[in-house]
Amino acid sequence: MNGRRLAGLITKETLQIFRDPSALGIAFILPLFLLLLFGFGVSLNAEHVPIGVVADHPNPTTDPLVAALRHSRYFEVRPLAGLGPARDLLSRREIDAILWLRNDFARQTLTEAPATIGLIVNGTDANTARLVQGYVLQAWMIWLAQQNQAAARPLGLSVALQFRIWFNPALRSQDYLVPGLIAIIMTLIGALLTALVVAREWERGTMEALMAAPVTMAEILAGKLLPYFVLGMGGMALSVALAVFVFAVPLHGSVLILALASALFMLVALGMGLLISSLARIQFVAGQIAIVVTFLPAFILSGFVFDIRSMPAPVQMITRILPARYFVSILQSVFLAGDVWSVILPDMAVLAVMATFFLGVTLARSRKRLD
């Protein structure tokens, strides 16, 4: 590695990054756009879910339960006259769930027999359905507790359940979406942008001139790696700053660990980008490959939006070879739980192996020749 030649290549790359609006766009505008979209636009919380309440016999026993639902910010309660009209509304998606209090509800609560309430949930959107189920259960628990207190006697349920939500007590979906986004953004800069700029050199014939110069392939690769590493870390810093200061995502772990893990993942992404560019010498093809092989899997299969544990077993196996999966796991731990070494260390080890693999294969594959 010759310092003068490397300096020349890095200067060139840096100048190009600053003169080419598309590079800066991918590095800074796209992250901003994604963060705003996921931070403000997409919310996986169920709020103001329209729920129909059918009380066959409204009476003092059922009223507190309906009131508990009504006061919850999760529900928009619509009292309905009977199960028939409620069903119609559910099938028209005007309401997402029906709470059915039968006419013998009040009587049952006063006997030894377990009191039953009916909950019918529209399962089309499984995520919302599960949330509704949980929220109704919560309201039900609260009502039970109140009934116990009022009657000063055990009522059906003898064990009081206590709910405590860890790591994301406010249940804000931003808090886990935004850290995950950092992995997506770094995949874009490391893999997509790098694959594109190398393919561009092939297209414009500048790669041919570089290869005819007395440089080594390692220098050419390092000349790409270093500037985009810095750019990627810049994108990461921007995302972290936005996450913490704009979206108020808590950062429980240490910044140092975050930076270290990001650096490792950046090397993996760059390795993938350079490997793709050694296969595809046309920007269009390189872009397609990078999106299909790196960006989409990182988006869908990394556990950033969709929980890996709820995926079918074969898909879960596939996620194991995705670098983004390990980085998302680190990010979510560092942001929401803190420096959980039992999670972070194995994940970082996997990333280190992957970085070595991709960069090693790229270096071995790249020859300073056109054929």
Binding site: R4, T11, K12, Q16, T206
Partner: protein
């Protein structure tokens, strides 16, 4: 087998190089053995696809030979590529410049890659900027330089560390004639300093500037010799033919129909003829034959002719039908801006029916932009243009049927077969029933496409791609034909055949508009417009343009001389105005 010797800059010993596999397999170099002497300027000539670029890339260590050995400056390139690359300079076809970096930044990059120390760099920059006259443009992005300036910057980047051996791959293609001459001055200066130069070129006249010429065809060396010696070998076979009454173009057709005539080219005022060996001039009443010295183009035709199957010659046509004086194309005050870039400035011309009208100029002169506006593919910023009485941009599809258009690089569907391409264009132009069958049969016969019907257009040799593109454009029998750079990259034999066809159609009443950067093709046009940097330099018949440039020192200038004189005069007026 030739062993590397100190006096040879480059030695190829039994070198073969094959690209692709299966049906797409192309043998670029076929058991090639040759030696290029050190300290000389060697020209590499040959038709498109002859293997010129492959040979230069092998010498630069960018490709590895399948068989054989390549020695550069006495070193085996496969074993010591980087050591050799420190001693050579290489300029690829597209100059290898970073378009968004400035002239100075490009120089800085390549200086560092060559490992030049900062102290030595500044002195070398000064020398190179003086040599290339790029001094005033140091802060300009390379992408905003003219073609000639890019070429000189590319050369400067290859010369930062004075190389022992300089490899130039078609450095002059599409570059204006002044820049071409300047490049050859630079090459001569380098030779004087002891640099060996290998330069490939598509311009046959440039061969005469070399000490040695290698003629390459289909991956084999046909000949290697001093160009003057090659030319003098044709002594007695070249003639300047004139006829008192027959126009030059009709005379050319008559001559080509004669058996011993291998080639008949239009010259400034006569027809230049090359006869087959051991033949005598055919007897044509009234024609005056005057023996002249051979040019390198004659050598090229002579050597390559034997290797080609004889093409059915376009039959000698009857003397051109009297030209109708109807104006089919009229352009007034045409301007086009791209942002603040003035691509076409106040262009005006008219074209009459049955004329061949040429737009001449280097890359970036505004020829293609003018063309696209004429065809209705691009709106004009200002000015009026009427094609067959209509503005094609606003005209209905009916009016567009009046024109046939062959775009640069021939817009064919590369993955469709020849027959499928023809069928598609027939459908696109709405040909049906009997007429469709008749036109498809005509295309197959006229362009000799029969044997290629099942081949994919993308796999055709360039000359046949050109024929297919022309066939597709002519299927619907348009009265006006637009051809954008139809001869770019096509070898001289194919070019000459192409022009015969074009003249044939013109004689039959088709109006032809054509752009080209080959100055010698100007002679094939009835009227010309010379363009430079978007502006018209001159308009008129070839003879008028040449006459306008005649001076005391050069009473009989070639079209290239005329073009250079006109550019010089034009630049002076601009400077005076500024």
């Amino acid at each position: 087998m030739a062993e590397p010797v100190g006096a040879d800059a480059l030695v190829f010993a039994g070198v073969s190089k094959v690209f692709g596999a299966g049906r797409a397999r192309i043998t670029a170099l076929d058991d090639l053995s040759l030696a290029i002497k050190a300290g000389r300027v060697t020209g590499l000539l040959g038709p498109d696809g002859a293997g010129k670029t492959t040979m230069i890339r092998l010498a630069a260590g960018l490709l590895r030979a399948d068989r054989g050995r390549v020695h550069v400056l006495g070193q085996n390139i496969t074993k010591t590529a980087r050591a050799v690359q420190q001693r050579i300079g290489y300029m690829p076809q597209r100059f290898g410049l970073y378009e968004d970096l400035t002239v100075q930044e490009n120089l800085d990059l390549y200086a560092r890659l060559q490992g030049l120390a900062r102290a030595g760099r500044l002195a070398r920059y000064a020398e190179l900027l003086k040599l290339t006259a790029l001094g005033p443009f140091r802060a300009r992005p390379a992408g905003k330089l003219s073609g000639g300036m890019k070429q000189k910057l590319g050369l400067a980047c290859a010369l930062l560390r004075i190389p022992e051996f300089l490899l130039l791959d078609e450095p002059t293609v599409g570059v204006d004639p002044i820049s071409r001459r300047e490049l050859w001055h630079i090459i001569a200066a380098l030779r004087a300093e002891g640099v060996s130069v290998l330069v490939s070129t598509a311009y046959l006249d440039e061969a005469e500037r070399c000490d040695d010429v290698v003629l390459l065809d289909r991956g084999r060396a046909l000949a290697q010799a001093d160009p003057a010696a090659m030319e003098s070998a044709l002594q007695g076979r070249c003639f300047r033919v004139t006829h008192p009454t027959t126009p030059r173009r009709a005379l050319q057709q008559t001559l080509l129909a004669q058996l011993p005539v291998l080639e008949a080219r239009l010259d400034a005022t006569s027809v230049h003829v090359l006869l087959a060996p051991d033949t005598t001039p055919p007897d044509i009443t009234g024609a005056a034959w005057q023996g002249v010295a051979a040019r390198f183009a004659d050598v090229f035709v002579d050597r390559l002719h034997a290797r080609r199957p004889a093409h059915a010659r376009a039959e000698a046509t009857a003397p051109a039908t009297p030209r109708e004086s109807e104006v089919v194309l009229e352009v007034r005050g045409l301007n086009r801006f791209f942002g603040d870039f003035h691509a076409v400035r106040d262009i005006e011309f008219t074209v009459k029916r049955g004329e061949v009208f040429g737009l001449l100029g280097a890359n970036g002169a505004g020829k293609t932009t003018t063309f696209r506006m004429l065809c209705g593919l691009l709106p004009a910023s200002s000015g009026s243009l009427l094609v067959a009485g209509q503005n094609l941009l606003k005209a209905p599809a009916e009016a567009r049927r009046q024109i046939g258009y062959v775009a640069q690089k021939f817009s064919l569907y590369g993955t469709l077969s020849v027959a499928q391409n023809l069928a598609f264009f027939a459908a696109a132009y709405g040909l049906r029933g009997e007429r469709r069958g008749r036109r498809l049969a005509w295309a197959e016969e006229e362009f000799e496409l029969g044997p290629f019907q099942a081949m994919n257009a993308g796999d055709l040799p360039l000359g046949y791609k050109q024929r297919l593109a022309l066939a597709c454009a002519l299927l619907h029998e348009p009265p006006i034909l637009f051809l954008d750079e139809p001869t770019s990259g096509v070898d001289p034999l194919t070019r000459s055949e192409f022009w015969q066809r074009i003249n044939h159609y013109a004689a039959a009443g088709t109006t032809v508009l054509v752009t080209t950067h080959f100055m010698d093709e100007a002679e094939y046009c009835d009227h010309l417009l010379l363009m430079s940097l978007g502006a018209a330099l001159a308009a008129g018949t070839p003879a008028e343009i040449r006459a306008a440039a005649a001076s005391a020192e050069n009473p009989d200038p070639s079209m290239e001389d005329a073009f250079i004189a006109l550019i010089a005069a034009h630049e002076q007026t601009i400077r005076r105005a500024a």
